[in-house]
Amino acid sequence: MEKEILKMKQITKIYGNGVIANKDVSLTVNRGEIHALMGENGAGKSTLMKILFGFEDKDSGEILFDGQNLDGKKPAEIIECGIGMVHQHFMLVESLRVYENVILGMEPKKGLSTDKEAAIKMVKELSEKYNLSVDPMAKVSDISVGLKQKVELIKVLARNARLLILDEPTAVLTPQETEELFEQLLLLKKNGHTIIFISHKIKEVKQICDRITVLRRGRLVGTMDAANATEEEISKFMVGRDVVLKMDKKPAAFGETLLKVENLSFENKDKKKVLNNVNFEVKRGQILGIAGVEGNGQNELAECIFGFHKGVEGKVLFEGKNLLEESIRQIRENGVSYIPEDRLSTGVATKVSIWENLVSDRIDSKLLRVKRLLSQKKIQEMSQQLIKDYTILCRNENQEVGMLSGGNMQKVVVAREFSANPDLLIANQPTRGIDVGANEFIWKRIIELRDQGKAIMLVSADLNEVLELSDSIMVMCDGEVAGYFEDSKEVSEYELGLYMLGLKKQGQEVAAE
């Protein structure tokens, strides 16, 4: 038998929307190892695995599994070959029982009926063998996230998978559940299974993986032995920045404190503590960049401040008022604007026109009315002015927002939020997935806002953006503030990486072994 169980050669994948998710990526996995696939969000890890699993078509490249070419095979055939995948978003039917989910598509039969006893027995045996205790009769909708993951593993094992792919399995788990999962994975390895483990947590990877392959922006950075690689080296590989855009700005002149966040804590609906005792301030004339690997609480932080969530502990003081007690509308009226992370679901209504999106936050304003009735003329004038000011490329203000390119859609959001003339702007991933031109435009506008003495809280997973724009930087890791740098110039990207990946933490000795 060959040493390598899987060879993916020169895989390239370009999505329909033009995103190059993988470019000439090669991955070789040895029999019986736990192989880590690392990279920041959007690096192309999931895409590469979906291609392997037959969920997505590749544009070029070759895949050999145990010497067999997997070209053009459907997921059903890939499963047959012995590859199993636990998707980042679970693939479970909630109203069915655990055992029903496990046997789905490969039901044991007795005559015409499903052989329920055999199915339950099989699940029990697998859960004993691999120490994955879960009640076969439980309804999936009633069990915890950790148990759901076990069900997914049993599902894969029931199909005799020799190669298991786990896409960010620890993202949704508590530390205890993570430890448990690791024991199970090591047990699987001992039983001769090969595992591809996707994660961006370096510690975890060092703990259980044999080799590491790192992707960045859809390209292969390299493969190394986990034993030899230091945590610093890995982090350098992962968060190295590709400078695509530079920004000149005047030195900052900080004014009074505008936003003061005190002891903010928040549990999400899965009862996971996503924010833990967060404290910080934003001053007038300051761009505070909030850096972190995605999923470490930055998004929730922005959402909590802007009033999206109930049951938030702590205080968000803005000009003396506690924003946690106010509605989103009141928060806006106080002079806070918000660029949401996901423009398609929260930023714009894609099915309606540009002007309707532009007036959505100010429909009650006197400026748009003549004698208490909305004036189409005034709305039109305002929309046309904003389209011009923010160089939104479109036919006219009546065009449906969904027809615009990502960059122009984002400009609609930016035009609305900036023209509300806020004192505080919360920009949550303001330039994600847009073209360089629009990107530069939005950066310039943010800096202009700062120079007018406004306060800006910039949440971004793009290290380049954080470093280019911010006057000060706060790093979040695991829902906590891992580090704060009053002057963004005093910290290097390499150092930021250590804080982002939890290798270093201020006010605490976290040694990188």
Partner: protein, 305 residues
């Protein structure tokens, strides 16, 4: 009041209830299949109406009741496929496609019977064999019980049998498991190699068959000819019964029975000189109450999650 009780506490009344609930049960079972497969059942009314027309027409053309029933079933399947093709493949909005189907059914049925029978109101002038009623041997000789349970239309018995068959299929066979998984989370089903489209069309075929039988019962059992708009909301009531029975075949059976009682009451009370307009609202009042209860329970359950 005693006159009222005398009217309903008779074997005859219970017999009527069973007869009246038959088309509702077929409709509700069809809706159940649609729903389990993750397809909207709003088109049921139109499918049943067209089938209630094709039943007698095929019966007349083949001069056999079986020919008529098969004709209705095939029509039901084809219409369900049409609905599926438009919504699944062409991605039309389900509610709109359903309403289009229902509206088309009204006009199309009248057009066809005028062409075949030369009349716009009904197919009374055609000689079309109907599905017979049958006496169940031993059972029919038992007093009261025999009066209630024996002598129904073959299709009524079929509906009851199918309730059990469907319960078996959905909860005890791989086919049922797959349909339910495809209906609830198609991506999850696809991820274990299940061909989603295949099972969607199987769902449509089963649902279409049931709707076809329901339509055929109306014009080949309940009465012996097609008349325009003869489904008269029974498809929609079936949707309500499905919701009220919470998607469980036996729950659906009971819910259909409740609607059957409401309908039969309405007929009986008319004979007792109650205000007709008021009486005719009974089935709809029950629908509203039932759906309110159902929604209340569901929202409570969802809150718990």
């Amino acid at each position: 009041m005693s006159a009222f009780l005398q009217t309903i506490l008779t074997p005859d009344f219970v017999f009527t209830v069973i007869r009246v609930m038959t088309p509702i049960l077929f409709a509700a079972l069809s809706c159940m299949v649609f729903t389990k497969g993750g397809i909207d059942s709003i088109g049921i009314e139109g499918i049943m109406l067209i089938c209630s027309m094709t039943g007698p027409v095929f019966s007349y053309l083949t001069q056999s009741a079986i020919g008529g029933v098969i004709g209705a079933i095939v029509t039901g399947i084809l219409l369900a496929f049409l609905f599926g093709y438009v919504t699944l493949q062409l991605k039309a909005v389900e509610i709109l496609a359903g309403i289009a189907l229902n509206t088309m059914a009204s006009g199309l049925t009248i057009f066809v019977i005028y062409y075949v029978a030369g009349e716009k109101g009904s197919t009374q002038s055609l000689f079309s064999p109907v599905v017979p009623n049958i006496e169940i041997p031993v059972l029919s000789s038992i007093p009261i019980l025999g009066d209630i349970l024996s002598g129904h239309n073959i299709l009524t018995y079929l509906a009851i049998i199918l309730t059990f068959v469907l319960a078996y299929v959905f909860y005890s066979t791989p086919l049922g498991l797959r349909i339910r998984s495809v209906g609830e989370n198609a991506q999850a089903a696809a991820s274990v190699g299940i061909n989603v489209m295949k099972y969607k069309y199987i769902t449509l075929a089963i649902a279409g068959t049931l709707a076809g039988l329901g339509g055929a019962f109306m014009s080949m059992g309940y009465v012996s000819f097609f008349s325009k708009e003869m489904i008269a909301g029974r498809g929609f009531i079936g949707m309500a019964a499905e919701a009220m029975g919470m998607g469980n075949p036996f729950g659906i059976f009971l819910a259909s029975g409740l609607f059957g009682i409401a309908d039969s009451l309405a007929v009986r009370l008319q004979l007792l000189n109650f205000p007709t307009q008021l009486i005719q609202t009974i089935p709809y009042m029950i629908t509203i109450i039932a759906i309110s209860i159902y929604s209340y329970k569901r929202s409570k359950r969802e809150k718990k999650l």
